[in-house]
C-alpha cells in the first residue's frame, strides 16, 4: 500500500451520554475498515447510568496502529462540557506543529476564547436535529455528515456502515439516517469554509478484517480454543466477556452459568474442569481476591483453569471504570502457599483473541491455573485487525491462524492429557493394587494424565490436602517434597518448552542502546509508539513486550537488559509491579520504574519525554512518575 503513506488522524467525539457519542465513534471505526484503513477506538462511558460525559477517540491510519496517540487532531464536541473537558489539550495546540480542530455544537454553546492554533467550526447540531430533522436522535449522524464533508471521510463507506447498522430496522430508518448525514454535509457546504489541513485519503481495497472490542476478543478466542463451560458473577469491567460469549457458547454445545458470587464461579468452573471440560471464569480485581482460596485449590489439585482478570482501578472497590494494571501481584501471588501458575497479558484487542487460545493451551497442557490479564480500557477498546482463521481439521484438531501479533505463525489448540489404559499396558500409572496414579511423581515433565469421570480405568478422588501418588491424603515429609517437586517441575518444563513463544516481541536496535524498554499490557502498546518516535529522533531504543509475565525466564530478560545503558519499565500501577518481579527473579542490576496511577493510560508523549530525561540525567534506577517530568500532579494529561 504505497499510496497515501503516512496518513494518521485522530478524531475524538465527546458529549453527554445518551447522545450517540459512542455510536458515532463506532461508525468512524467501521468506516475506516470499509474504506480499507486501520483504526483503534478508545472509548469511555459515563459513570452514571444516564447522562455524564462520554467520549470516543478514533485513530485512523493507513498502517496498523496500537494506541490513540497523545490526544486528538479533531474534536467533535456535542456540548460545552466536552469542550471544557478537553481544554487542556486544546490549549496545548499553540506548542504543536499541527493545528487542532474543534467542531462543536453551537446551538447553546460558544467557546469563551479563541485559542492559538485551534480552528473552530461551529455547527448547530442540536438545532438541526430537533428543528430540521425533527428527530433529536439523529444528532450524531448529522455530526458524521459534518465530519465527512469537512475532512473527506468517504461518504459511501459511512453510508454503508449506516445501512449495515440500521437495515434490520427497515428502509425508512436507513433513509432517515442518510437524510441526517446529508444534512450535515449540506450545512458545511453552505456555512463553513475549510481552514484546516486534514484530509482523509481515497478509499482503498478493504482488507479482510474484523472489528472487535477487547472483551469480545477474549470471548471469541476462548470459543476458538474450545471452551465448554463459563461461570461468572457480573463485575465491571469483566461482565461483557460473558455477554459476548454466552450465545456462541450455547451454539457450540456449552453453557454459561451466572453464579451467585465469584467464589462460586471459580468453584463451578473447577467442577466442570474436573468433569473433563475446558472451562473459565472472568472477573476483575475484587473477584480475584475472593477467588484466592479456590486458586490455591486449583494449584494443588492440578485442574486446568483459565481465569480472566479484566483489571480496573484498585484497591478495594477502587475505580471500576478506570484503567489500571495493578493486579499483577494478586495474579502472581494470590492464593496461599506455593504452586505453579502462568500469567499471560494482552497488549491489544488482537492479543486478547490469540492469548485466550494460548491461555487454554497452557492450562490444558500443564494443568495449572492460567491468568489472562487485560484491563477495562482494552475491554471496551475497538480495533480493526486481520480476521483470525480457524481451521477445523477432520481429525478433530483445531488450528488458529492469522496475523498473530507476538511472533508465532499459528496456534494449535491443545487438549489435556487424558489417561488411556490402552496406552499404559505396563501400568505405569497404576498402583500394585490397580489404583490410578493421578499424581505420579516421576514423569520428566511433571505432567501426569487426568482421569475423566466415566472412564472405569481412572477412578480417583481429588483433594486439596497434600496426597500420595494415588491421591490419598497423606503428608509425610517425603511424600510432600516429591509432590511439590512434581508440581514445580511443570513450571520448569513450561520455561523450557513454551516460554520463548511469548518472548518474540523484542527489538534490538543496538548492543549498547541508550535505553531498553520493557512493558506489558496496554502500556506496551503506548510504549511502542513512544519508542518509534524516539527512534525517529535518532535515539537507540531496544524494546521488549513479553506476553508471558509469570513464570519469568530470567536469562531472556537479563540478556535483553545487558544490551542497553538503562532499562525502563513503564506500567500503570503504584508499585511498578512487573519491575518489582523482575528485580526479584532476575539478575538485572538496575531497573527504572516509571509509573502512573491516575486511572488513565499513559500517553506516548509521557514515556517519550521521560526516556529523554532519563538519558539526559543519566538515570539508571529509581521510581518515577510523569510528575517528575512535567512538575504537575498528573503528568501531561
Amino acid at each position: 500500500m504505497a499510496e497515501n503513506k503516512g496518513f494518521d488522524l485522530v478524531i475524538k467525539v465527546g458529549g453527554e451520554g445518551g447522545e450517540g457519542v459512542i455510536t458515532a465513534g463506532d461508525f468512524l471505526t467501521e468506516t475506516a475498515a470499509r474504506a480499507g484503513y486501520w483504526a483503534v477506538n478508545y472509548k469511555s462511558y459515563p459513570a452514571e447510568i444516564k447522562g455524564g460525559y462520554a467520549q470516543s477517540t478514533v485513530r485512523i491510519s493507513d498502517d496498523r496502529v496500537y494506541s490513540t496517540g497523545d490526544s486528538f487532531d479533531i474534536l467533535c464536541a456535542f456540548n460545552g462540557e466536552a469542550v471544557e473537558k478537553n481544554m487542556v489539550f486544546l490549549k496545548r495546540a499553540k506548542d504543536e506543529a499541527k493545528p487542532k480542530v474543534l467542531v462543536y455544537d453551537s446551538t447553546d454553546y460558544e467557546p469563551a476564547e479563541e485559542l492559538e492554533n485551534v480552528i473552530y467550526y461551529p455547527v448547530p447540531l442540536s438545532e438541526l436535529a430537533k428543528d430540521v430533522m425533527k428527530a433529536y436522535i439523529t444528532k450524531n449522524i448529522i455530526a458524521l455528515g459534518v465530519l465527512s464533508e469537512l475532512f473527506g471521510i468517504p461518504e459511501q463507506s459511512i453510508k454503508d456502515a449506516i445501512k449495515a447498522k440500521f437495515m434490520r430496522k427497515g428502509e425508512k430508518i436507513v433513509e432517515l439516517n442518510y437524510k441526517a448525514f446529508d444534512l450535515g454535509r449540506q450545512y458545511v457546504r453552505e456555512n463553513l469554509q475549510k481552514k484546516d489541513p486534514y484530509k482523509f485519503p481515497q478509499p482503498r481495497t478493504p482488507e479482510d478484517v474484523v472489528i472487535m472490542e477487547g472483551n469480545q476478543a477474549v470471548a471469541k478466542g476462548s470459543i476458538a480454543a474450545g471452551v465448554e463451560f463459563y461461570a461468572a458473577y457480573p463485575i465491571t469491567p469483566a461482565t461483557t466477556v460473558g455477554n459476548h460469549i454466552v450465545m456462541d457458547l450455547i451454539k457450540r454445545g456449552g453453557w454459561l452459568y451466572q453464579a451467585e458470587d465469584e467464589i462460586a464461579s471459580l468453584g463451578m468452573a473447577l467442577g466442570a474442569s474436573f468433569a473433563g471440560k475446558k472451562s473459565m471464569t472472568a472477573t476483575s480485581g475484587p473477584g480475584i481476591s475472593l477467588m484466592s482460596e479456590f486458586i490455591s485449590y486449583a494449584g494443588i489439585t492440578e485442574l486446568p483453569i483459565v481465569i480472566v482478570d479484566v483489571q480496573r482501578g484498585g484497591p478495594g472497590t477502587g475505580m471500576p471504570t478506570k484503567h489500571e494494571q495493578a493486579d499483577l501481584f494478586v495474579c502472581a501471588f494470590g492464593g496461599h502457599g506455593d504452586f505453579p501458575r502462568a500469567i499471560l497479558a494482552a497488549t491489544t484487542v488482537e492479543d486478547n483473541f490469540y492469548l485466550a487460545v494460548e491461555a487454554f493451551n497452557l492450562a490444558e497442557k500443564y494443568q495449572i491455573p492460567v491468568f489472562l490479564m487485560t484491563d477495562g480500557a482494552l475491554a471496551i477498546r475497538e480495533e480493526v485487525f486481520p480476521t483470525p482463521k480457524i481451521e477445523q481439521r477432520p481429525d478433530g484438531k483445531v488450528v488458529v491462524k492469522g496475523n498473530i501479533p507476538y511472533g508465532v505463525d499459528e496456534i494449535e489448540v491443545i487438549n489435556r492429557w487424558v489417561y488411556n489404559a490402552e496406552e499404559d499396558k505396563e501400568g505405569k500409572f497404576r498402583s500394585p493394587t490397580g489404583r490410578f496414579l493421578r499424581y505420579k511423581t516421576d514423569t520428566p515433565t511433571g505432567i501426569t494424565p487426568m482421569g475423566i469421570p466415566g472412564d472405569p480405568n481412572a477412578l480417583h478422588a481429588i483433594t486439596g490436602l497434600e496426597r500420595t501418588e494415588n491421591s490419598d491424603p497423606r503428608f509425610t515429609p517425603e511424600i510432600r517434597v516429591k509432590q511439590m517437586n512434581k508440581r514445580f517441575r511443570k513450571l520448569q518444563t513450561l520455561l523450557r518448552e513454551d516460554a520463548d513463544r511469548y518472548y518474540k516481541d523484542m527489538r534490538i536496535d543496538s548492543d549498547n542502546a541508550e535505553v531498553a524498554i520493557i512493558s506489558w499490557g496496554l502500556t506496551a502498546s503506548i510504549a511502542r509508539e513512544a519508542a518509534e518516535r524516539l527512534r525517529q529522533q535518532g535515539y537507540t531504543v531496544n524494546e521488549f513486550y513479553p506476553r508471558l509475565l509469570w513464570p519469568v525466564k530470567a536469562e531472556v530478560f537479563e540478556e535483553f537488559a545487558s544490551k542497553a545503558k538503562r532499562v525502563i519499565v513503564p506500567e500503570t500501577n503504584y508499585h511498578g509491579q512487573f519491575a518489582f518481579i523482575l528485580r526479584a527473579t532476575t539478575n538485572i542490576k538496575d531497573i527504572i520504574s516509571y509509573v502512573a496511577y491516575r486511572g488513565e493510560a499513559f500517553i506516548p508523549k509521557e514515556i517519550e519525554d521521560f526516556v529523554k530525561m532519563a538519558i539526559e540525567k543519566d538515570i539508571k534506577k529509581g521510581w518515577f512518575t510523569p510528575s517528575d517530568v512535567y512538575g504537575t500532579v498528573v503528568g501531561a494529561i
Binding site: 480476521t387 477412578l459 483433594t463
Partner: protein, 296 residues
C-alpha cells in the same frame, strides 16, 4: 456385567472417623443405596467440603472431589451442569452447609439442579475440635462459647423447602434400613434432593447420642400421617416442628421421614430447551466472521 455389592463402592482408604461416629452408618447406607441402584462407580461423583463428614467421598470408589469448606455445592454444580450424564452427590455437614456454605443453598435449590445433598448433622464442629454449629442446641458448650451456645439455630429442612428443593427428607445414622431407603430415593429423584442425617458425634456432642435417639425419634410418614408428600404447605407445617426437640429436648422427638417430594422440571430440562431454541453452530469461523463489517 457382574452384580456390584456395597463393598464394590468402597475405596481402599480406611475411614479416619472416631469409633462410634454416625458417619460410618452414612457411608454404609450410601454404598448400599448405590449397590441397590447398580450405579456405575465411574459415573458417580461424590463432592464434599471440609469437616469430618466431608471425608466421606474419599472412602467411596468413584470420581470424587474433596473441595473447600462450604463450597462443595458450587463444585458439584460445575460437574453436573457440564456432565448431566453423571450422578452427583454432595456430602457435607451442618457447619459446611449452613455456616460458610449457606450462601450457595438458595441458588442450587431454586434452580432445581439434579444433584443429591447429604448433610451429616451432628450439631457440632468436630474436625476443629468442638465449636458450636448452626444446628447446635441452646446452651451447648463449645471451645469459643464455653458458657454455652446463645446463638439460636437454623432449621435446615425449612430453609431448603423455602429455597425450592424438590425432595426433602431426614434420616438417622443409627437406622441403616431407613437411611438406605432415603438415600436411594434421593439419588433417584430428578431434581434437588436434600437429605439431613442425624449423625451422633460421640467425641464432642455428648447430648445427641445413640442413647438419646433410641427413644427420641418419630417417623413423620409412618407415625404422624404425613403422606401427602407433594403438598408444600403440609411439608412446611411439618418442617416447623423440626426443632420441637430443641425447645423440649426431654419430651419432644426428632423427625425421620420424607417431608416433600415433587416432580418439577430440572435446571437441565430448561437448559436443554434453551439449547434447542438457540441451535448449534458447527463452524467456528462463522462465529468470528460476524465481527467483519456486515455485507450489505
Amino acid at each position: 456385567m457382574a452384580v456390584l455389592t456395597a463393598k464394590d463402592y468402597r475405596s481402599e482408604v480406611e475411614p479416619t472417623w472416631c469409633p462410634g461416629c454416625g458417619d460410618f452408618g452414612v457411608l454404609n447406607a450410601t454404598a448400599r443405596a448405590l449397590a441397590e441402584l447398580q450405579k456405575d462407580p465411574a459415573k458417580v461423583v461424590g463432592v464434599s467440603g471440609i469437616g469430618c463428614s466431608s471425608r466421606l467421598p474419599l472412602f467411596l470408589k468413584g470420581y470424587n472431589a474433596h473441595t473447600l469448606h462450604g463450597r462443595a455445592i458450587t463444585f458439584a454444580i460445575g460437574v453436573k451442569v457440564s456432565r448431566p450424564d453423571l450422578d452427583v452427590i454432595v456430602f457435607t455437614g451442618d457447619g459446611d452447609m449452613f455456616s460458610i456454605g449457606s450462601g450457595h443453598n438458595p441458588h442450587v435449590a431454586r434452580r432445581n439442579i439434579d444433584i443429591t445433598i447429604i448433610m451429616m448433622d451432628n450439631k457440632v464442629y468436630g474436625l476443629t475440635k468442638n465449636q458450636v454449629s448452626p444446628t447446635s442446641r441452646d446452651g451447648q458448650p463449645g471451645s469459643l462459647t464455653p458458657y454455652g451456645n446463645i446463638d439460636g439455630h437454623v432449621n435446615p429442612i425449612m430453609y431448603m423447602l423455602t429455597f425450592g428443593a424438590t425432595y426433602v427428607a431426614q434420616t438417622y445414622a443409627g437406622n441403616l434400613k431407613h437411611m438406605t431407603k432415603i438415600i436411594k430415593e434421593a439419588i433417584q429423584h430428578r431434581g434437588l434432593s436434600f437429605v439431613n442425617i442425624i449423625s451422633p458425634c460421640p467425641t464432642f456432642n455428648k447430648f445427641d447420642s445413640y442413647k438419646y435417639y433410641k427413644d427420641h425419634l418419630i417417623d413423620i410418614n409412618e407415625d404422624l400421617g404425613h403422606t401427602q408428600l407433594d403438598d408444600f404447605n403440609k411439608a412446611m407445617e411439618m418442617a416447623i416442628h423440626w426443632d420441637d426437640n430443641y425447645r423440649d429436648p426431654e419430651n419432644a422427638k426428632a423427625h425421620i421421614g420424607v417431608y416433600y417430594k415433587v416432580e418439577k422440571p430440572t435446571y437441565h430440562d430448561r437448559v436443554e430447551e434453551v439449547k434447542a431454541r438457540v441451535g448449534r453452530e458447527e463452524n467456528i469461523q462463522n462465529l468470528i466472521d460476524v465481527c467483519k463489517p456486515k455485507a450489505i
